[in-house]
Amino acid sequence: MSDTRLITHFGEPDDAADKPLERRKCGDTVASMPDADTHIAPQTAPVTPTEPVTGWGRTAPTVARVLRPRSHEEAVAAVRDCGDRGGIARGLGRAYGDAAQNAGGSVLDMTGLDRIRAIDADAGVVVCDAGVSLHRLMEVLLPLGWFVPVTPGTRYVTVGGAIGADIHGKNHHVSGSFSRHVRAFELLTADGAIRTVLPGTDLFDATTGGMGLTGVILSATVQLLPVETSLMCVDTERAADLDDLMARLTANDHGYRYSVAWIDLLARGAATGRAVLTRGDHAPYEALPRRARRAPLAFRPGRLPGAPAFVPEGLLSRTTVGLFNELWYRRAPRHRTGELQRLSAYFHPLDGVPHWNRVYGRGGFVQYQFVVGYGHEDALRRIVRRIARRGCPSFLAVLKRFGEGDPGWLSFPMPGWTLALDIPAGLSGLGAFLDELDEEVADAGGRVYLAKDSRLGPDALRAMYPRLPEFLALRAELDPRSVFRSDLARRLGLLGP
């Protein structure tokens, strides 16, 4: 019921009308000054300098005009004026590769569209602009007793990016990916029209996971998850090797809303694939100690000083990461239940260190995340053994079981095992090694996650995403001149010849 009300609210022109008003209100005295015209002039004839843009992995920087629309109208204008080499929406730049880069063209920094438009605190539905981050949503919604339905390993992603990459979290086996909780979104398409897109339509399925190549998401209506507290109740256990880990995950994953395993990919021999499982759920009010009950929904994540801008290359070597992994594994309790943890400590430990991606040095790093279906455990074992034998210094590797996939044509999750690891990009021969893993993954009917990818080839993509032809056909019809382009699309041959 509230859905329809909220959705019709979109179509009303007051969106457009109240934006300039608001700006007049808070825009100093500019609008009231007689020479207001001179302030409008630069907007109509934008001379935007170009800037280098990279993904979170800091590999393959390219240069683009970065446009920062602050309203729907400015977004429409930005798409209209984005030039011969097209444009692509960008949020907080947490995709690891080149998904939100557009060499020689335009990049639409959507973080200026940052308004939360409506909250239905009874039904748990929020309507917000695409540039609103999950961090902001948590700040606003947690005190009301609501939590985002899906959160990845960082809060610093935008709602638009969450839909474009169809992100998943530790609760995928229960809750599916982000798009499952999206009731509607507004999409600015290549023709300049703003469409309201509902689940169950082709445009919805092409856009969720479509990496921004169907248009610019302007706002979304998202169903939230009710919580009683802002703490997590976490069970921790160790697994001695990969088989032990898989057995434990298979046995009782369904008993937890959130589940993930940190895996030591440098351990070899009998310890190959040893891991620390952390699984849990939002703590109920009764679980809180008396002192914490005074503010059960408090959310004040701390942040350490950021990583320095210059870190020498090779800080993360086999030795240092091996040492870290050893300590991390040893310090984890063999078995502990019911530990109370802060949300941020459980979901987003790395968010505590701003710019943590700099620790890889100037050369940056690549993330490799793949999924192989249930029944292909052998492929997973082979890949883990190969990675261990090769000695990829990875300290952020995680293994997780996915539940049912969602209908997005390029959406990544499918029922099966997903492994994510980070590797310094400078590791010798890494490109060819990952190509071999691609083959192994594709042969097992699996796929690689595009939001993390920075090196997949066009052929491998076609083998992994069987619904790609439908996606390309819809794109050809919706965006025949390829207004929406990204470096990722160029690399993966999605823009045609």
Binding site: T50, A60, D98, A103, G104, G364, A425
Partner: protein, 253 residues
Amino acid sequence: MKDAFGTPQSLLVLGGTSEIGLATARRLIARRTRTVWLAGRPSPALESAAASLRGLRADVTVRTVPFDALDTAAHEEALGKVFTEGDIDMVLLAFGVLGDQARDEAAPAAAVLVAQTNYTGAVSAGLVCGNALQAQGHGSLVVLSSAAAERARRANFLYGSSKAGLDAFAQGLGDALHGTGVHVMVVRPGFVRTRMTAGLADAPLATTPEAVAFAIEQGLRRRAETVWVPGALRVVMSVLRHTPRPLFRRLPL
């Protein structure tokens, strides 16, 4: 588009019959490169070079484009055509002539040809490609300089001076293009065993086109600005560069 490791998908080789150029193309085709342009004077050698690359993979497209380093007036048009057909991720400026020091000293006109090919031609082609890369907002321009560019030697200062000019030009161009998304990499190989050096005695630290190609691939990954092949030459040439003239003259180089 280059991937996270700097591997290009499309490659333009200026000097399409250059052995280092072709060794690099072979190496990159084994990775991600699927479109190759070989620019050079139309000749059976150019066509057979293209055919040899086509034979490496069924899905690689190799095309030739007429290009003469000495005909600088035609560079804009000839190379511009290549860029209109799609992005070029990497341009390898591989043309150059060694000349014959002894003969050329006595025949200034021949010496001028060496300078014009190695320097003037490269300035023109380098600027044309640099501008085109800048317009597309990404790409690498890899310039084959030489260890000989570091310090002119009695035995080959005509070639060395032309490469010194090219080297300085490429460094300056790299600085000019810094921040535009275009990466300029200067490669300084030592003595490379190729057709160009056939018949000459091996110098110390002699290397092969394949080794240069490997170093180029590594350099792309690191987004390096200067690459020595082999790496030890960097130290050797640094010492030689600082050797006093009276002593340097007497060295058997």
